[in-house]
Structure formats: C-alpha cells, structure tokens
Symmetry: D2
Subunit: 340 residues, 4 copies
Amino acid sequence: MRAAIAGASGYAGGEILRLLLSHPEIEIGALTAASSAGSPLGAHHPHLAPLADRVLLDTTPGTLAGHDVVFLALPHGQSAAVAAGLGDGTLVVDCGADFRLADPAAWEHFYGGAHAGTWPYGLPELPGHRDPLRTATRIAVPGCYPTAVTLAMFPAFAAGLAEPDLVVVAASGTSGAGRSPKPNLLGSEVMGSATAYAAGGVHRHTPEMEQNLSPLAGAPVRVSFTPVLAPMSRGILATCTAPAKPGVTPRELRETYEAAVKDEPFLRLLPEGQWPATSMTLGANTAALQVALDERAGRVVAVVAIDNLTKGTAGGAIQSANLALGLPEETGLPLNGVAP
Amino acid sequence: MRAAIAGASGYAGGEILRLLLSHPEIEIGALTAASSAGSPLGAHHPHLAPLADRVLLDTTPGTLAGHDVVFLALPHGQSAAVAAGLGDGTLVVDCGADFRLADPAAWEHFYGGAHAGTWPYGLPELPGHRDPLRTATRIAVPGCYPTAVTLAMFPAFAAGLAEPDLVVVAASGTSGAGRSPKPNLLGSEVMGSATAYAAGGVHRHTPEMEQNLSPLAGAPVRVSFTPVLAPMSRGILATCTAPAKPGVTPRELRETYEAAVKDEPFLRLLPEGQWPATSMTLGANTAALQVALDERAGRVVAVVAIDNLTKGTAGGAIQSANLALGLPEETGLPLNGVAP
Amino acid sequence: MRAAIAGASGYAGGEILRLLLSHPEIEIGALTAASSAGSPLGAHHPHLAPLADRVLLDTTPGTLAGHDVVFLALPHGQSAAVAAGLGDGTLVVDCGADFRLADPAAWEHFYGGAHAGTWPYGLPELPGHRDPLRTATRIAVPGCYPTAVTLAMFPAFAAGLAEPDLVVVAASGTSGAGRSPKPNLLGSEVMGSATAYAAGGVHRHTPEMEQNLSPLAGAPVRVSFTPVLAPMSRGILATCTAPAKPGVTPRELRETYEAAVKDEPFLRLLPEGQWPATSMTLGANTAALQVALDERAGRVVAVVAIDNLTKGTAGGAIQSANLALGLPEETGLPLNGVAP
Amino acid sequence: MRAAIAGASGYAGGEILRLLLSHPEIEIGALTAASSAGSPLGAHHPHLAPLADRVLLDTTPGTLAGHDVVFLALPHGQSAAVAAGLGDGTLVVDCGADFRLADPAAWEHFYGGAHAGTWPYGLPELPGHRDPLRTATRIAVPGCYPTAVTLAMFPAFAAGLAEPDLVVVAASGTSGAGRSPKPNLLGSEVMGSATAYAAGGVHRHTPEMEQNLSPLAGAPVRVSFTPVLAPMSRGILATCTAPAKPGVTPRELRETYEAAVKDEPFLRLLPEGQWPATSMTLGANTAALQVALDERAGRVVAVVAIDNLTKGTAGGAIQSANLALGLPEETGLPLNGVAP
C-alpha cells in the first residue's frame, strides 16, 4: 500500500513519515506542501535521513491521487477541499480539527466559521469507536490533548466512578504549537520556563474532551481545561481529576483501570506508586497511565503521559489507518519510548 | 546587621546568599554546613563570585552566635535543635517545614514523628500575617508550593467568590527537590520530560495550603494537589481552580484581584489575557498572577508564577526578616526577573 | 543621569533595561522601537515588572534627544543614521556591529556594504582600551563571541605564550541569535540539540577577534572559529586553543593569567581544576576563566564563560558607559550569577 | 539468536535493549545487574514498556551462559572477569574501555592500573576494521567521543589532506556521564548551562582518538581534546579541525568525504551549507557529517553529530555484533532520528 502526506514539511507530517519508514505494509508515496513545495525534505526534516532527497510537491488532487491512503497534516480549514478531490476508494486521514466535532454550535463557538462536518473519530480505545474505523474511508484524528485526557478518564466515567465535573491541567511540549515561527515559541523564550495559555475555558480542545466523555458518563461532562507550555519539544502530561462517586474504593478504581487497559495494545497502567513521565513515551504510540483515589479530597486523580506527535497525532493516525486498511492495529507502531 | 546562614551549601542557602549580596542593610556573616564544612563556598556555589573563597564552618551554636539574624536552610527536623541554642535576641528564620503547621495531627499524618511547634508564618501577603511578623523573633518560611497557591487564591476565598474545593496542579523546577543527588533528578532524566509525583493526596504541602486558605474561606478548604516536575531549574507555575460561587461575574473577580494586589509590592496582576510564565519571575521576589472566570465550567481559574527559590524560599525569608528587623519590607529584593 | 534605549523590545534592549533598573546613577528615560512602537514594554519583556506599563516610542531624533546616554540596540546598519541626530554632548553606545571593525576590507568581506567607520571599542579589559573610553562620546560595544574569546586569550598573547594560530569553538545560548522568529530558533528545534552553524571561516565575528588579539601577539592572529548553538537561552562557553610557544610552563601560564585578572573587577580566574560553566555567570557581568597547558598536545587551552546578554552585550555596554560618564566602572553591574 | 545484557539497568544497557526490541534476528535473553538485581526493569527503564516486568538477575557466569551474544555494559575494569567465564562460542561485546587501547602505556597513563588487553575494535567504518569483525568473538566497542571524532576525520587523514595536529571540542549530552547520581549531573545544575570538563589534555578518550587516526595519517596525530557538557540528554556534536595540507582545495575535500561515505550505511554527508545537529541523529545509528575548508585560517573543519548512546555506544555495539554474527550490518538499526 502507498501513502501520500499532504503537509509533509510540518511536525505532524514529519512524524507520520518517521513512523511510516518503519511500517512494513505502507510505502511512502507523494509528499506535498504549500510554500515549501520544490524543496527537498531534508531541508525541513533532516532527521529523516532516508528521505532527505525527496522533493516536496504542491498539494493538489493530482499529486495526491493514486494512493491507498492520504494523510492530511494541514492548517485548520483546508482539509475539506483537499478531501473532496479524493474518491471514496482512498482512505483520507485528517490530522486537523475540521471533522472532529459533531456539534456545529461547539465548532462555531470555539473555532468560528462554518462546520465542515463529522468523520469517524480515530480513537480506537474509546468504547464503541474501534469497529466503525474498520470500515471508514474518512477518519478524523483526535486532538493531542483530547487523546490524552480521554484515555486517562474513559475508564472512570464508563464505570460510573466519577462525577461529570472534570478539571484538567496539561503540560505540553512546544511541538504541539506547530512550526510556524512565533516570538513566544522561540527557544530563548520557552527554555527554562513554564507558562499557561488559553486558560479560563477558551482552548479549542475543550468541547472535544466533553464530546468523548459525556456519553460514557451518561451526563454532560463539564471540563475546566488549562494547558501549560512546558520547556520540552515533545510530550503531554495531563493531570485529570473529578470528584469520586460516593463509596468508590481504591481497589475498585485500580481494578477498573486494569480491566480497561487489559486488551489495549497501547495503554499501559503503571505499577502502583509509579507516576507517568513523558519520557516514558517519547516517540512511542503508548499512553502511560496512573490513577489514584485521593480520599482526603474525595477525588479520582488520573495522570497520563503521551507523545503529542506520536500517540497524540501521527501514531494515532496510523493506528486508525491500520484498522481501516485491514491491517493489525499495532502494525509499525513503536511500543517503547526513547530515553533518557 | 549581620546574618549567618546554616546550610549554606544547598540551593536555599545559596539563594539567600545571592540575595544578601545585594542587600544594603544586611552583611553576610558565618556560613555553615554539615558534610561540606571546611570547603570553600566556591566549590558549591561558583556563581557567587564575591564569596567564592569563604570557607564553610560547622553548624554549631558557636559559629552561629553573634548575628542579628540566622537563616536556617537545613533538612527537615534539624531546625529546633539549632534554634534552641540561639537566644531571643537573635531572629531565627527557618526555611524548613518544622514550624509551619499548627495542627499536630496534620504534621504527624504528612511528616510523621513529633510536631516541633509553630512559629509565626512568613507570608506577609496573607491577610492578618504581616503585623505579627514585625515583632517576631522566630519565623517559619512557607513551603514553595503553598506560597504560590496561597497567593493565587487568597483574594478569591477572602472575598467569598469560590467554593472551598480547590484543585491545584503545579509544575515545579527541579531545584525544589534539593541538591541531594538522586537518580530521578539527574539531568539525563529530567531534560525533555515532565512527570507527576506524590500525586493522589500525599504531598506534604497539602495541609499547609489548607491551613492558609480555610480561615479566609470560612470553611475547611479541601485541596487536591498534584505536583509536576518540569524540565527547568527554577520556577513554579501553579494552576488553581475552584467552583465559582453563584452569581460571580468576571468583573467582580477581576476587581477583587486588583484590590488584593494594589498595595502589595511583590504581587503583580498581569493585564487581562496575559498568562503567567515562570520566566517573568526568575530570580525575583515577585509573584505574577492572572485570574479568569470560566463561565462554561463554572470555575474560578487562577494561575501564578513564582521562583521557587526566591519568592518561594529565600526571598520570602528575607522579606519576612526585613519586617522583623524593622526594615522596609522590600529592602534588597529584586522586583524584576532575569529573562530570556 | 538619564538613558534612552533605542530598540528596547529586543533581547539586548531588555537586558540593558534590566541592568539599569539596579543602576544607582542612571535613570531610565525614553524607550523606543520600530514596529513595536505604541505597545507597552510589558508585552515584550514581562519580566521587567517595574517597567511593564511604559509605552514604546518611535525611534526618532526627537524621542532620543535630551538624554545623557543613548544605548542603541538596533539591527546592523541602522546605528549611524540614528547617531547622526545626536550631538557630541550625548554619549552614544552602539550594541550593533557597525562601528567595531577598523579595517574596511574586513567589514566588506564579512558584512558587505559600506563601512560606517570606527568608534572607541568598549572592552576596557583589553590592554590599552580603558583610558580612551573615559573620554569617549561614541562607543562600539564588542560582539558577544569576540568579548568571550578576547578575554580568554589576551593574557596568553600579550605575554607571548602562544603562537598566533587560534582555534575557537564556542557554544552559545539562543538569545545571541536575537528575537526575530525563525524556524531554526523555535524551542522545538533547539531543545535537546546542539548544532554548528556559520562554520568554516564565515562567521562575522572572526575579524573582530583577530583585530583584538593581533596587536598583542605582535603578529596577525589567524582565527578558526566554529560557533555552536546550544540548548540554553543564555551563555557563551568558548574553548580557545593555540600552540604554546616553546618552553612555556604550566606555572608561567597560570601566573600570567593571575596577573592579568588581578585588578580586573569582572574577570575571574577559577581555582585550578575548576572549569567554567555558563551558569556561573548567568545575568552577571563577570567572565569566568580557566587555562591549562596541554603538554602532550603542546597547546594553551583557555576556556571562558560569559553571559552573552550581560558581559557579552548589555553589561559590557554599561561598563563602558560608566567609564565615559565618569562613574566607577563597576557601578550597577552584578558580579554574581543566578544559579542553579 | 539470543542476547544477554550485563549491566542492563544503566543507560548503555537500556539503549541496547531499546534497539534489540526492534531487531529481527536477536531475541532478548538474560538481563543482569549489580545492586539492582532483583528489581523489575520497569523501575529503571520505564520507557521500555514491553520489558517492564522482566526481573534483573545477578551478573554471574551462570546467568549469562547459553546466549549467542553477551553485551557488557559494566563499569570500567569489570569486563575481563566476566568475559573469562564465557567461552569462545559466545560473542562478547564490551561497551566499556577495558579492551580498546593497544598501548599499555597509554592505558596506564590515562586509566591507571593494569592493561587488560586488546580486542578487535568495533568501528567498521574505520578503514581496515570491518573484516576482522566478521570473525571476531570478542569486540571492544569504541568510546563515544572517539567514535564521533574518528568518523569526522578519517577521510581527511586517510587522503592526506590534513596535518596530524588535531583540535577537537565536543559537546555531549549528560547521558554520556552515566547514571550514577552526582551533584554536578543534577538537572538543576545542567539545565541552562554549558560547562567544560576534563580539559587540558586529560580526558581518557584522547589516546583512543590518536590510536585510530595516526595509522591513517602516517604519523602520530596529536589531539587536543576539550569535552563540553551540554544541557541535553543525548548527542555529541564534535568540531574537529586540523591544518590543511598545502594546496588542498574545497572540491578535493568535498569529494574525498563523498567517496568515504558512499558505501557506508551509517555515514551521511549533509548537503553543502547544512551543518550537523544532534537532533538529526537522536536515537539513530547514523553519523551526520559536514566538512569545509577554511581558507583564511588554512584549516580543514569537520563537524559530526551522533547519538552518544546509539552510534556512540549501543548502536555501534549491535552494528559490530551483526557482523560477527553473520548478519547484514544494518540489521535492526535505525537510520532516522527522532525529532523535533
């Protein structure tokens, strides 16, 4: 099978390529870009040694045609037009936000503009979402923060162990902010410093978390989300806490999470007492989880670490694509991180 | 006036010295240590060029005698014995935890062992705490996390704008974990990674936050606290959120915080829309604050940045010592950070 | 005395302001900028709390008039025009490159375009350069790398201990590359990575090193210079090595350096065996030096650490300005770094 | 084939395991340690999710017996005794220094104590060294710095383009200093700072560089080596410069390097003008090279980036083991890095 990547010069595109280089069933086809078209990939992703001499093409229906799967790693708002040029015979996997939200009002509130529609949501671990992906021809890859938060909290909500009032504070590496140069993303600014941003209920990933978790909780989950930019290139460490339902015990909580991860190849519940670190998952498609019951405060506290570019974007995209292409879900996806 | 520093080879001791080097009224006297006694300070704090040749003495009543103020930067549990050898004519400022908590049960639960007692609490900004410091001869310097969280939330609780159910997630630089070499604090481990630790309600600073805020809230404040080790040497960025009381408006919240910081030399409410970064306060005794009302989630969200070694430890110690010594509170304390 | 800063929104401008905030004799006057004019300083330098509400003015003769000293922190090529509008009664201190080089051919080779001229060179430690600064009305602040390298090697060359064939490899923090956002300076790119750049003899600071050292060596010093971008915001660590002249002994080398730094307030020769780290000098105007004779390789090896923004730019500028303004050279300049 | 790893709890051991997890022909057998024996691997290398429950055994002849290959990642001085217990039917690959140096006097001068002997040197790219590895039963893995420097300079010396007077300044990530906790390796100390160490001709890797390059140069190569600890976990960026032989041209130099890397799977000469960054090779077995002729200074300047743990240790070990085991040299070794 052959894959094209639209938006190959950015971080998401680069990570898809890194993973596909080790994928035994998918060959790398056309690589396209906007302003970078015409330049060699090595000018943008010099770490991808085997692809350094590949030249970026323009993102057009013609250059993307003839592939089994097309990964879109484009700025928000551009995916619909590109996808329209690709028939149903081509699997289209969109790493952007355009097709994630089901609720047009939520889209309009947080993103503005017209809602493009909804595609099957590419988070196989979310109960009920794996099977539809097996027959999908269009997939919306979840946002990096919603991936982390959903994986941390779906077991508690699905088992009725937590009240639908969720607080999330998540530290993210800077690659989550993309590659467009902005002064606040300069190394000089971010090294040695942590900073909150888009706090107070305005971050665009908030409704996506609510959309994922509310059906499991059987009630609208209210999410208070504060993202923090941390001085690291990759990784999300999300702390998620909700009031425990009355009578929940530590053992019940632990066993619920053990059951939830048991058959999931990419979910890993750490031994009791060991808390997630983003280095555990650097470059891996794994989510490292830990959960505890804070009995003094009456809260479930779940912490998750993922690599925002791997499980949070490119790895999640390939995991869902594997399903839609009829491949084993784990194909070509690393389980172990790169550390120290 | 002359100051001695017991525990001068550690990070807290080093930061006290750095600040005292610019203090116009306090001269640096004896510097003492335990296993490092006999070595030059330059072997431990090579950044303190003017003191590089000073030799560390043993920590004994004799070496600490004859100073106007003695700063204790000792491992937990050692301060009482050292302070006992110093008369009431000497101001003793303890950077350790020994005398912070009023409740022996809380001490025993979180620290274990016998409670040493309670000293005047060195957080002048906490309503009701400035005046007692003016006549104190013993001062307990707050913990770094409680300093941050108390400064972020005291206005909301004192004004009755928030329910007493507080969630705190705070990222800290590694210097907060001290200088004893442990594998998990190696640069190789911490660079490029964020990790939670002591989560689930077990961190020792939790009861101190509750002790500070409950009297203001007029009810026991329950605190769910998750500390995060971030890949930076200094700084705490604490996100604090509690349910808003019914009817609170954004304007009311903003004005409450504006009033709370108005006469405080070291509290700084950022312009609306600008969120704190730890780099704003690196090396400074300033706390940078921002607050917002998340109306969707019904929550007050306050974020604060401090330097854990400055406002969070050594600067806070000197600020309180200034008061007790009859000096202007701001004497010798930097208002601006070092950035980028 | 009052100072204006042209280019106050950049890193050099910000560091000048940080230092002037603690300067007892110089008051901060007009702050000017180009595209940032009209915005508050707090939007650019939120660490400078006391100046957060100051509004940036346009850089014009009018806004800069009426100050005792004007610091120029402008892009290369703009200083001459601005200085022309300021009479000889105003001290003008240029942090740019425009007036550093005496040799028009060197200027043209490395910078291109017309040579603007030569101003007194603001490196008081360089033999013969302190006295002219006392009467200067125009000062060219050295480049950050030439400052480091000159301070490391002037003693060896002045004492005839080294052959005029110098190899320099210097790691620099990213703030040396300025604040204009470029993809290669993004935090995502620089964190966790070291990279060489402008290697092979093309870096513009090369002729400035040669200009400084050749007169002391009594022969043209050839400099092979390789700059390395290191994952840190501040600091230069320069390793400088030249063949030892025949017969040089370790003791002779050590004593030469001891004599060279003896009366210099900002030069610090570390104890034998302790090598410089940039953290020793973070935010300080100090240069930390060490030197050794590698007898196997027959080479003098000198290593120096400075803060590129402080001693390497803003601190050096103020040090020279102090001399020209008739103040003690050390006025307002920190000797100690901020660490850890 | 099955591999045992002695010293599996350290950084070298962990990296060997990370690579073997993707190796199609080598199965992971016994994992042994010293003081960590009895603990699960997940306590030491939580990034190696698939091996988290494997328990570390004692390092004894019994636990290591019965494997096709045994990788030794032990402190210096311990390899000989362990290897003695393993027959010639077992390939033993030593990541330590014990068997690298041929000259007992060099060993004694730099390491002290008795010289253990010399094993085939595991750097296949070094001319003349690939074939002996195909029949080796004992392999000495090169040091990380000598790997970098040798790969950067062997083409120039082998082609007679450079004088045998080499200056090397190399920045290394902290993982090169190992996992034993020492105060100077704490994150608080290393983040935000670069520091020289073991400068002035005393670093133990110096004679190994000379041993590798002198035969190619046809004369004793004198090496002046200054290592720099950089604030990153992984990576070596080495700048290597030697006087150019008279008449060397840029084209000749470029073509020499092009020819040298042409058939080498792990050597990559970057396009002209692009300089190596350690991020290009993070986690990869690739060395990224660039070379230039500095005609002003009359010098060859070669810069190389490797991952000290991969190509510099564990990847190099597996590369050589592949040869000795009759496998294709590239088996299981990543060509691309993980970035950003």
